[in-house]
């Protein structure tokens, strides 16, 4: 059973509200921001980044109860942008956000809302329509190849036959503008858990607060745990990176999330420049996470337009590579059968979106020179003679 084949069969006929009934996920339709996975019906929520949602092993979202670890090389903060989208999406969906280790300014710098992710895509495709080669109508419905992750399942549902029910359905994922600031009534719904020095593990008070917050809230409240730059020495005490502290924290966090498996998701960012992947501690952190993705920004993305893989001059050049080391649910089962695994991904962060797309090298541009030279029959060109 190929993934794409089923995708076609599923998308036009079945609207989103009908799926939960079939999959017997009674809680899913009522809660905004939660929808059943097209893969196996488990509830998922959006990471606030549509192309990241689509990357997650066919679930089109982060499955509830799962922890996503975003690692980043270098001194850039692309992972921080992903984390802000994740938090902002939670604010829009009126979920409860728990931010660990950073002051409240972090919460004030969340990106501003533009609209639903679908609306942004429609606008973009409108803009593109004029200068794009016309392709057959039936293929156009399949979505933009290359523009998003291959498993993008929302594209087919957008145009054409939509019944009013889906039209009214609240958006699952939103688009945000990094240059604006988020204003939303439920932005006060964020709690900031400071790191307090303690005699034993510095993570113990954090766990306690998370535990009480989650167990004392009503069952309808969805929680997001946001941990920016874990183990960053400017925020965490030196003994935090002792294995017995940080690994016990991850284990307990995993326990907490599996105890409330339908209500909690978490995203953690982590700098690989401080803690390289080749160390045993980091490997254990990864083993304890449900999903692990790694961002490798290109060193000079500002002037790399010519060389770093933009297929046409209109596309923005990618700013880095993205590697998926482990995907939620898929790898827990044993892994492997997803088409997104093992691909080379590139990411582009622009003002309005974080886009992940397949990485491909452009035709080498230096070759034109060589072709010219060979066409001229080996004669030295004028430019070569002048100094």
């Amino acid at each position: 059973m190929s993934f794409r084949k089923r995708n076609i069969g599923l998308s036009p006929g079945v609207d989103r509200t009908a799926v939960p009934n079939a999959a017997t996920q009674p809680a899913a339709p009522e809660t905004p921001g939660i929808r059943p996975s097209p893969d196996d019906g488990r509830p998922t929520t959006s990471t606030g980044t549509r192309s990241l949602d689509n990357l997650l092993a066919g679930h089109a979202g982060l499955p509830m109860g799962k922890l996503l670890l975003v690692e980043e090389n270098g001194t850039t903060d692309f992972a921080g942008a992903l984390l802000r989208y994740y938090a902002a999406e939670g604010v829009i969906q009126e979920q409860k956000i728990h931010v660990v280790g950073v002051p409240e300014q972090w919460g004030r710098s969340l990106p501003g809302l533009i609209g639903s992710a679908e609306s942004l895509d429609e606008k973009r495709s409108d803009r593109r329509k004029d200068d794009r080669m016309k392709i057959a109508w039936r293929y156009e419905r399949l979505g933009e190849f290359g523009a998003g992750v291959a498993g993008s399942r929302d594209a087919p549902a957008t145009p054409g036959a939509q019944d009013p029910a889906t039209k009214e359905a609240p958006a699952f994922c939103h688009a945000f503008d990094l240059t604006k600031r988020l204003t939303h009534p439920s932005i006060t719904n964020m709690t900031f858990i400071p790191i307090t020095p303690s005699k034993e593990s510095p993570f113990l008070p954090i766990l306690k607060r998370l535990q009480t917050a989650i167990s004392s809230s009503p069952a309808s409240i969805i929680h997001r745990i946001v941990i920016p730059s874990l183990l960053n020495p400017t925020m965490y005490p030196p003994d935090a990176c002792q294995p017995e502290h940080v690994l016990q924290f991850f284990h307990a966090l995993k326990a907490l999330m599996s105890a409330n498996t339908t209500r909690v998701t978490a995203m953690i960012t982590f700098s690989l420049s401080l803690y390289p992947r080749s160390s045993g501690l980091v490997r254990w952190i990864e083993l304890l996470s449900d999903g692990v993705i790694e961002l490798c920004p290109f060193p000079h993305s500002a002037d790399a337009t010519a060389t770093s893989g933009a297929a046409t001059s209109q596309e923005e050049p990618p700013q880095g590579m993205l590697k998926t080391h482990r995907l939620p649910v898929l790898h827990e089962r044993g892994g492997g059968s997803d088409q997104n695994v093992g691909q080379d991904w590139a990411f582009i962060l622009s003002r309005r979106r974080f886009e992940i797309k397949p990485f491909s090298l452009p035709p080498a541009e230096g070759d034109t020179e060589a072709q010219d030279a060979s066409a001229a029959g080996g004669m030295p060109k004028k430019s070569d003679l002048e100094f």
Partner: protein, 346 residues
């Protein structure tokens, strides 16, 4: 897509015949987890030969009857239950029939939430009168309802306050204190469950103990808390003595194994040296080693990874010659089925 048999034929001889006091090591890495293999071990031991497992396996099955105690440090019971259901195993019902016991090393190992206190009262009520009854549930009982009779402790001297809080979970492990004392407590708790499983039905003669990633215990404690590779290895030995056969899974990612060697260039951290010592020591003791890894050539659409089955250091020379070492590919389908095939086949 043809549906796969729950137990692929190529794999079957390696997961079914576990000789007495043998240790089978299943090693995994980040991109190739061992959960599916553990499920195959579960299936090999627990599935009844009769077509319909709903009708008493006790009567139809003659000969050796197997039981399993699964100790999982990284996965919740929910995960195992749902995944086993895909293979046609109802762990909840099997737990009621005392064929299976789950020991939860995840939820309260390092940090026990206070919120579970209300659960203790029904557990305390339920435990004492049930100990004497040789219970076998009627076949019609729905799984996962009510307190499980399977989980009643035979002896009262071990603290099992919230043991029966959730159906199907025989015990939740706690790590309290430090060093050997903490390990001993965990060992005692696991042995209590094993002994109670053994005592429940007379004709039982094989109990398979599956330890799922006990290396977490080592990683998350370490020498600063008085636990090193030697202590954990002894702890495993102590548990092995109470089981017919033991299956143990652990992580063997490259940083955890190779950083400890002298040639690695950089000084190894304790977590790396201890883990390497533990893993290599176990491989020398194990009868067979099943090693899971991803393809060296990158990901493929129809291959999940490579399974290498080899004899471990504990292989006794007198054993049957038909058991051959093998390297095969495996592929996990979306529905949970696994196909195992040689290179070049499909």
């Amino acid at each position: 897509m043809p549906s796969q048999p729950p137990l692929p034929p190529l794999l079957a001889p390696y997961v079914t015949l576990l000789p007495e006091s043998s240790l089978t090591l299943a090693s995994s890495i980040l991109g190739a987890t061992s959960n599916w293999l553990v499920l195959r071990f579960l299936h090999a031991a627990l599935s009844s030969p009769s077509l319909n497992p709903a009708f008493g396996a006790d009567e139809t099955q003659t000969g050796i009857k197997k039981k399993v105690v699964l100790v999982s440090f990284l996965r919740s019971f929910d995960f195992w239950k749902t995944e086993a259901k895909r293979l046609g195993l109802d762990l909840g019902r099997l737990a009621e029939k005392q064929q299976f016991a789950f020991i939860d090393g995840l939820s309260e190992l390092f940090y026990a939430p206070d919120a579970s206190t209300p659960n203790t009262s029904p557990a305390g009520l339920g435990s004492s009168p049930r100990t004497t009854l040789p219970l076998r549930s009627p076949p019609g009982v729905m799984p996962g309802r009510g307190p499980p009779p399977a989980a009643a402790p035979p002896r009262g001297n071990i603290s099992v306050t919230r043991a029966q809080a959730e159906p199907g979970i025989a015990k939740k492990l706690h790590f309290t204190g430090r060093g050997l004392a903490a390990l001993d407590l965990i060992e005692k708790n696991i042995i209590a469950v094993i002994e109670q499983q053994k005592s429940s039905v007379e004709e039982i003669d094989e109990l398979v103990l599956i330890l799922d990633q006990p290396d977490l215990l080592l990683a998350a404690t370490g020498p600063t808390m008085g636990i090193g590779a030697t202590e954990i290895a002894e702890w495993v030995t102590g548990l092995q003595q109470h089981a017919h056969a033991t299956v143990l899974t652990l992580a063997t990612d490259a940083p955890l194994i190779h950083n400890a060697s002298v040639s690695a260039g950089q000084p190894a951290t304790p977590i790396e040296t201890e883990h390497a010592t533990f893993a290599i020591g176990l491989a020398h003791r194990a009868r067979s080693v099943m090693q899971l890894r991803t393809l060296e050539t990158g990901a493929a659409k129809d291959v999940s990874g490579v399974l290498r089955i080899s004899r471990g250091g504990g292989w006794s020379a007198g054993e049957e010659e038909s058991w051959e070492e093998k390297e095969v590919l495996y592929f996990i389908q979306r529905d949970g089925g696994v196909s195992v095939f040689g290179r070049g086949e499909s």
